[in-house]
């Protein structure tokens, strides 16, 4: 690798060997943000080791240069090092701009730099701290929903799973403070276990291009980073309190940071949210309360060339699932779906009864890094996660208060990453990772395990290279390999085992027969390769063209492999297949972007072709003593998703700005030639924002969100016999609801309460017109409308 870097450097400077060498190159180095002159900047000419520093006026000068092209590295302790190509012809004057972060610590992330680009050839979307604070009472999914190309798969208002360009769950990787979240994300009713208030910045990468994080993100990667900490002797923080009308709730969160000039820092953060039953414009949604408690602590020591950090967070969430959505067989579903109002509406309550979820997620990490001078930067990280998921159902007898699902997922990860700074034009990122995971489903629930006992080992390695071919072209190439081994203990029902013919196909994995069940020990291996190839071309007048191809491979998750039986929360029988292999996605994305002071826009078309795509779909209706249940079976097929995301904004004047967003995605099962289920319908968002920084930062915005009806969907409806009417009735799971239009209002104003403190008051009204609507991507749409108007009043004190 080192040789390769040297080779590149050698070839890139070969042209410097020529004659007539008595020219000077001089100029100034300034801060890109405010034009301030930078003192003590080192400029080095590649291959000659000739080096100078800027003086107190930010001035530098090289002498004895030839008429030729030189590669110059410009570096400063508090700036990102940059490389430039300079053509010298006679005495030449040239000025440089650097991005300067004197007040901010060199943030500890895997990358080592704060909030910098994660991929060079995919346009990233991000949500900064100020925008995030507007979502402080919501969830991660709510915040991400504000980005184009992101929708969410909901179970009521509290379980909000992000969908990126039509894909979700195991196809979306979430990195929380450098740790890949392992929180049982395979289930559609499993929300990400992250407190939005612990984040300082959210970055979204559509597709799998950021191989340093994972190779299996066919949908995309969400990167959650903590706020930056200033390197000075200071104590600062914020506390906010919000009142929520819909749900009659309250949310409090607070954060305090102490940092020292010597590099030590500590941050403690906590948040609490409690709401009761929410309501639609016409009725209460009984049992939809939420009780969320989170806390995190971070401390570390940070110097420019080395540092260490420890982080620990606990996330605890209890949430109720709409009581009326809990139904048994198909006959019950007919009643629930045909009823214009939910079957059960009780008086308002803060109680969270069954059906409910109680999830606790612990996350700890230790990270250390060391700058190895010109060689690069090396980091090492260990992280630990423990996720305990309890799901409570409506039960009988002694089991009434017992959880029906009790899963404990423990994950340990170690990784080491290396980033090379050796060359100005070639940037290398490489790393290796090892992970151990153990799932323990508690048999004490008295209900057969929905996810089996397993241990899983992952080993991975990646390397990524990006290089500036010339001033306007950046190329990026990367590869990653992951090996996964799963050792599973799974009880199958004998009747299922035989109906699948596993008794003749896989007799060797049987351990023993226990009554009507068979204990098996499948050992599975997956070898996954992933890659990315991309280019960014800067055209004239601020136009940028991004092209990226990414190859992603994802091993099937335990739910897809081992489901076998009634899934109570969705009232259907789900069947997996332990013979599945990895799904492989190929995504091509092009982005045309322009950003200047008059307008900005980005158009991002893409096509994602996924082989061995795992879908679950209904195949049968099964008769049981409890009535009829629809049987959904996982199968592998070839899928294709085609779509486009458009963002545009246009300032009318200094205070008024228009923002527009449009997203469209079409998903097809190419083997069966039918649409994929749960594809987000096209949606269109338009917003007008008024912001006056001269008048207490007053900000007022009005947003219109129009969601079209999804017209392409697979028809999974079926008929069921109702003995009471002696007729067959349709169970309509498939037909999407109508299009809808929502208006949202948002406002905030700052008051300087003292020299160091600012009070911000905010009022937000969502669903301003109290519109009744149902969302195709909400699992509860069959039984109830979505939320009505909500007033949210927030007071925030920054100190």
């Amino acid at each position: 690798m080192r040789e390769y870097a040297l080779l590149i450097l050698f070839f890139s400077s070969i042209s410097t060997m020529s004659q007539n060498c008595d020219n000077t190159l001089s100029g100034r180095v300034t801060d890109i943000h405010n034009g301030e002159l930078l003192v003590g900047v080192t400029l080095t000419i590649a291959n000659t080791e000739q080096s100078v520093q800027t003086d107190f006026d930010g001035f530098f000068s090289f002498s004895k240069l030839c008429n030729d092209t030189y590669y110059i590295q410009v570096s400063h302790p508090y700036c990102l090092t940059k490389g430039y190509k300079v053509r010298v012809l006679g005495n030449t004057n040239k000025s440089f701009k650097l991005e300067h972060h004197i007040e901010e610590l060199n943030q500890i992330t895997i990358d080592g730099k704060a909030f910098k680009n994660k991929s060079k050839t995919v346009l990233e979307s991000s949500i900064n701290k100020d925008e995030l604070e507007r979502f402080s009472t919501g969830s991660l999914g709510n915040a991400l929903n504000s980005l184009s190309g992101v929708s969410s798969l909901n179970t009521g208002n509290s379980v909000v799973k992000p969908i990126i360009n039509g894909l979700h769950s195991s196809r979306v990787v979430i990195m929380n403070n450098g740790v890949r979240m392992e929180d049982q994300r395979w289930g559609v009713e499993h929300a990400p276990n992250i407190d939005i208030n612990s984040a300082g910045n959210l970055t979204l990468i559509k597709g799998a291009a950021a191989l340093q994080y994972s190779g299996d993100a066919t949908g995309g990667i969400i990167i959650v980073e903590a706020p930056k900490i200033a390197v000075k002797d200071t104590v600062f923080g914020k506390t906010s309190i919000s009142g929520i009308s819909n749900g009659r709730g309250i949310s409090i969160n607070s954060r305090i940071t102490k940092s020292n000039l010597n590099g030590w820092y500590t941050t403690i953060q906590g948040s609490l949210k409690r709401t009761g039953d929410t309501e639609t414009p016409n009725y209460l949604l009984s049992n939809t309360g939420v009780f969320e408690k989170n806390t995190s602590i971070k401390f570390g020591f940070n110097r420019f060339d080395y540092g260490i950090e420890a982080y620990y967070s606990i996330f605890k969430n209890q949430l109720g699932i709409l009581r009326a959505s809990h139904l048994h067989g198909a006959q019950d579903q007919v009643r629930g779906i045909s009823s214009p109002v939910p079957l059960i509406i009780n008086d308002f309550s803060y109680n969270i009864d069954a059906p409910r979820q109680d999830v606790t997620h612990h996350l700890g990490r230790i990270l250390g890094y060391k700058e190895l001078g010109r060689r690069g930067k090396l980091s090492f990280q260990y992280d630990f996660q423990k996720n305990n998921r309890l799901e409570y159902d409506i039960r009988r007898g002694d089991d009434r208060d017992k959880a029906s699902t009790d899963l404990e997922l423990i994950t340990h990860t170690i990784q080491s990453n290396f980033e090379s700074n050796r060359s100005n034009t070639l940037h290398i990122k490489t790393g290796i990772i090892g992970r151990y995971q153990k799932n323990y489903p508690n048999p004490g629930t008295g209900i057969r395990r929905i996810i089996p006992d397993y241990t899983k080992y992952d080993l991975g390695a990646y390397a990524m290279f990006d290089t500036n071919i010339n001033e306007s072209l950046i190329m990026e190439i990367g590869g990653r390999f992951d090996y996964t081994h799963m050792n599973v203990y799974k009880f199958y029902r004998k009747s299922f085992w035989e109906s699948r013919n596993y008794d003749t196909l896989l007799p060797e994995i049987v351990v023993e027969e226990v009554g009507t069940q068979i204990l098996t020990q499948p050992k599975l291996n997956f070898y996954n390769s992933s890659a990315t190839l991309g280019a960014t071309y800067s055209l004239k007048e601020n136009y940028n063209l991004f092209f990226n191809y990414s190859l992603a491979s994802r091993a099937p998750n335990p739910s897809e492999l081992f489901s076998e039986g009634l899934h109570h929360s969705s009232a259907r029988v789900e069947l997996g297949d332990l013979q599945f292999n990895s799904e492989v996605g190929h995504k091509f994305a092009i982005t045309l972007q322009n950003s200047n002071e008059n307008y900005s826009f980005a158009i991002q078309p893409y096509i994602n072709t996924i082989n061995n795509f795992i879908v679950i779909e209904p195949v049968d209706v099964q008769e049981t003593i409890r009535g009829n249940f629809q049987v959904w079976e996982y199968r592998q097929t070839n899928a294709q998703l085609i779509g486009v995301d458009v963002d545009a904004s246009y300032p009318i004047n200094k205070k008024l700005k228009l923002n527009h967003q449009f997203s469209l995605v079409k998903g097809y099962d190419r083997s069966r030639n039918e649409p994929l289920i749960n594809m987000p319908p096209a949606n269109f968002k338009n917003e007008i924002v008024y912001k006056n920084s001269e008048y207490n930062n007053l900000r007022i915005s009005l947003q219109s969100a129009y969601v079209f009806r999804q017209n392409e969907f697979p028809n999974n409806n079926f008929d069921v016999y109702i003995p009471q009417t002696e007729s067959y009735e349709l169970v309509d799971f498939s037909t999407p609801p109508d299009s809808y239009h929502l208006l949202n209002f948002n406002s905030s104003i700052d008051f300087k309460t003292s020299k160091k403190t600012t009070l911000t008051a905010g009022l937000e009204i969502s669903n301003l017109l109290n519109t009744s609507y149902r969302n195709y991507l909400s699992r509860l749409r069959l039984y109830a409308d979505d939320l009505g108007r909500n007033y949210l009043l927030t007071l925030k004190l920054n100190y």
Binding site: L343, R396, Q415, G434, G446, L459, S499, G515
Partner: protein
């Protein structure tokens, strides 16, 4: 680069240690579902007549096997039968009598009997919970003239027993969730 090599060795070695220590895992214990009702047996008795037994048995629960439905014989015309229902969980050995659990939670359970249009018979409750509403573990069935058709037994969990018609056996306003639903083909001869 030396450091990288060292670290990578450490990582792979640690992974190896993890993988070695896992081989001595003991096998997990099976879950025997406690709440499952596998078998419903309805016994119809009448003076001077042989018992008629209707049974549905679904030993693999929500597994792929269909419930086995048996009817021991025909009903006699114009006869008043006393009916009783026994529920078992036969996944356990010995089988657990689930009828007791329903009787204990009588307030939250009710059986409904739906007689298909072809069958000439009427039903009525002969038991009550603490609030005087029917549970339906015991009932009467009066057969009419010779005919044949279906009779469906439905057990609802948490029904609204006070809704109109529910205590008279009309299921249409009962709500709640279905715990059992079984249909039998019956003849009166």
């Amino acid at each position: 680069m030396k450091t990288v090599k060292f670290l990578s060795t450490t990582i792979f070695a640690t992974a190896l240690i993890f993988s070695c220590s896992s081989d001595d895992d003991s096998t997990p214990e099976p879950v025997l579902e406690e709440e499952v009702i596998t078998t419903m047996t309805i016994t119809l008795t009448a003076d001077g007549q042989g018992d008629v037994i209707l049974q549905t048995q679904d030993l693999d629960g929500d597994g792929p096997d269909l419930p086995v439905v048996t009817v021991s014989g025909n009903l006699s015309p114009s006869t008043m039968y006393s009916g009783s229902i026994v529920l078992l969980n036969e996944t356990e050995d010995p089988a657990e009598n689930m009828t007791l659990e329903i009787a204990e939670e009588a307030l939250e359970h009710q059986f409904f009997y739906t007689v298909g249009s072809g069958l000439n018979a009427t039903t009525g409750y002969s038991d009550a919970d603490d609030e005087g509403n029917p549970v339906g573990l015991y009932f009467d069935l009066v057969s009419g003239q010779e005919s044949s058709g279906t009779i469906t037994f439905t057990l609802r969990h948490e029904p609204n027993k006070n809704a109109a018609g529910v205590s008279d056996g009309d299921i249409s306003n009962a709500d709640g969730e279905t715990d059992i639903e079984a249909t039998f083909d019956v003849s009166i001869q």
